[in-house]
């Protein structure tokens, strides 16, 4: 059981600083989680710490590969609104 970081990570160090298992390490092009060290914070905290501070939606996946913070969950921007804004900007 381990979480993972994917390429939408912006390398802000926030997760690195709060991981109780020192499972997160700096890597290129982004931080990564050592699956052998990651405990998903079981025994330490009610919620995985990396996913509780990460500001980027979909940057951290659970063991099943699903985003812990799905689109809209952190920014409050409805995904359809975001998609429409991106379309509008690209059309300019």
């Amino acid at each position: 059981m381990a979480l993972s970081i994917v390429d939408s990570c912006v390398n802000c160090y926030a997760c690195y600083d709060v991981c109780p298992s020192e499972a997160i390490y700096q890597s290129s092009p982004h931080f990564k989680i050592n699956a052998r060290k990651c405990t998903e914070c079981e025994g330490d905290y009610a919620q995985p710490q990396c996913a509780s501070i990460c500001p980027i939606e979909e940057a951290i996946l659970d063991a099943s590969g699903a985003a812990v913070n799905p689109p809209g969950s952190l920014t409050g921007i409805p995904p359809e609104k975001m998609a429409a804004a991106i379309r509008e900007i690209q059309a300019r």
Binding site: V10, C12, Y13, Q47, I89
Partner: protein, 503 residues
């Protein structure tokens, strides 16, 4: 709407900002502060309007982590062309930051202040932030250190801050009411949990206020930054201003919301608008009755370098610094001489101002009837408090209001559009159109020189170009142009409309 409504009644009624004959906005802004505070801020460009013409600052981006989310921020912060808080080109280690700071200080000796302002929250990165401060206070003791924070982790950091010779802290306080806060902050990370909504806002507000009180008790100067968000906290900021002043903050900086869909922020995507320059000015004037207002903030990047309004970060990228051979002890000697020279010039200006204020009938009022309406003028300057920039080189203009009682600084207007990134780049309006649009509402523009094409376009737009005061002190030149406008009858017709330059 006519311009003569802006703050004039207030200024006249309470005798504040522009009461003296020769009114320099900066000095009246600071003049009632205790001498020890004036001494602390007189060479700090972000705290003293006067100092910002002479002294430069820099930010080092050592603090990428954040413990809250603000609706005006997008944490995908890496863009080299954008200029707004929270944006940087590269995050530095504390060692790299120290190297960069010394390189900048040696090459830009006017640089007096090193700030850590992000791109996240400096106090959410305590190790990287304090390690940088510790090394700098040892290796570059002639540089002032300061930090800005959202306040969430502030109470726990006050003790450490007071050890590092930091005598300035900026707290961003956008509200004192959790119901308002919930519309600005979607979540905070607190006690190992992500907390949402009003509950989150309540904790944040409590921490900010507690931190403010603790800093004041330690004798550390606190400036409060607030982002003005129309319809969300605009009215509420008057209460914020009153409370933070009561608690001992010495300066309040109300800044306009920057929100464009291209930035990918909640406010940008959801179509929340920023305030017009006029709305911002009105709110600043209303808060001014309660507090010292700062009007010269440029909302700079978390890795900005140079005078406010300029960014020389490109000259100090890591690879360029690596090639520089800096002898900091030598640099400090040169810096001391230059700083002393600037202070001497500022002291002379101050002495002259005092002499003029002592004259019983102010020269200005003798020539300008008291009922004359005020006029806005734009100034192109590259620093030093002088009209010394070519119109075509200006990336921003300083806006001054001339009135019978004197000249006051109102704010600045940027010429460049914000970077809109990727495929949409390159469709900017011409720089000239941008300049003219930025100057809406102004009746004259003072610069060192101006070309033929902009001259005629400005005239068409009703703005009188003026290159006759090159190298003169700004406030004197603005007053001279105002007097000309009085004598040639310009001010007998109504002021031009001030339209939103931020939309």
């Amino acid at each position: 709407m006519q311009l003569n409504v802006i703050g004039q009644e207030n200024a006249a009624a309470d005798g504040s900002s522009c009461a003296s004959g020769s009114c320099g906005s900066s000095n009246d802004q600071m003049s009632h502060l205790p001498q020890d505070i004036q001494d602390k801020v007189k060479n700090h460009p972000c705290y003293s309007e006067e100092a910002h013409h002479y002294f430069a600052r820099m930010h080092v981006a050592v603090a990428p982590a954040c413990n809250i989310q603000c609706h005006y921020c997008n944490r995908k912060y890496d863009c080299s062309n954008e200029s707004r808080p929270g944006v940087v080109s590269e995050v530095l280690t504390p060692e790299e930051a120290v190297m960069k700071t010394k390189a900048v200080a040696a090459n830009i000796p006017q640089m007096t202040v090193l700030g850590i302002a992000g791109p996240g929250d400096p106090l959410a990165n305590p190790q990287r932030t304090f390690e940088t401060f510790r090394m700098l206070s040892e290796q570059a003791p002639d540089i002032k250190l300061c930090v800005s924070t959202n306040g969430l982790a502030l109470p726990d950091a006050v003790e450490e801050l007071s050890k590092h010779n930091i005598d300035h802290v900026t707290i961003t306080i956008n509200c004192v009411d959790p119901a308002v806060g919930a519309k600005i902050y979607p979540w905070i990370y607190w006690n190992n949990k992500r907390i949402y909504g009003e509950k989150a806002a309540k904790i944040l507000i409590r921490q900010q206020q507690k931190g403010l009180e603790m800093l004041v008790a330690k004798g550390i100067l606190v400036k409060v930054n607030s982002v003005m968000i129309p319809g969300v906290n605009d009215d509420h900021l008057k209460e914020v201003s009153r409370i933070v002043k009561q608690k001992g903050a010495f300066l309040h900086n109300v800044m306009p919301l920057i929100a464009e869909a291209e930035h990918g922020t909640f406010y940008g995507i959801m179509g929340q608008r920023g305030p017009s320059p006029e709305e911002l000015q009105d709110l600043q004037d209303e808060c001014a009755g309660d507090m010292n207002m700062m009007r010269h903030c440029r909302q700079c990047r978390a890795d900005a370098v140079g005078l406010l309004g300029e960014d020389r970060g490109e000259e100090f990228t890591l690879d360029k610094i690596a090639a520089m051979d800096i002898d900091y002890n030598e640099a400090m000697k040169k810096r001391a001489v230059i700083h002393a020279g600037i202070m001497e010039e500022l002291d002379e200006k101050e002495a002259k101002r005092k002499r003029l204020a002592a004259v019983s009938v102010p020269a200005v009022e003798a020539t300008v009837p008291a009922a004359t309406r005020p006029a806005l003028m734009a100034v192109a300057t590259s620093g030093g408090g002088l009209i010394n920039q070519h119109f075509g080189h200006a990336t921003e203009f300083l806006i001054y209001e001339a009135a019978p009682k004197g000249v006051r600084f109102i704010g600045h207007r940027k010429v460049d559009q914000y970077c809109i990134g990727g495929d949409t780049c390159g469709e900017k309006e011409s720089a000239l159109d941008g300049s003219i649009r930025a100057l809406k509402g102004c009746e004259a523009v003072l610069c060192s020189k101006i070309g033929y094409e902009p001259w005629s376009l400005l005239e068409e737009a009703g703005i009188v170009p003026n290159g006759e005061h090159a190298m003169e002190p700004i406030e004197e030149a603005v007053m001279a142009v105002y007097r000309e406008m009085v004598s040639n009858g310009t001010l007998e017709s109504p002021a031009p409309q001030m339209e939103s330059a931020s939309a």
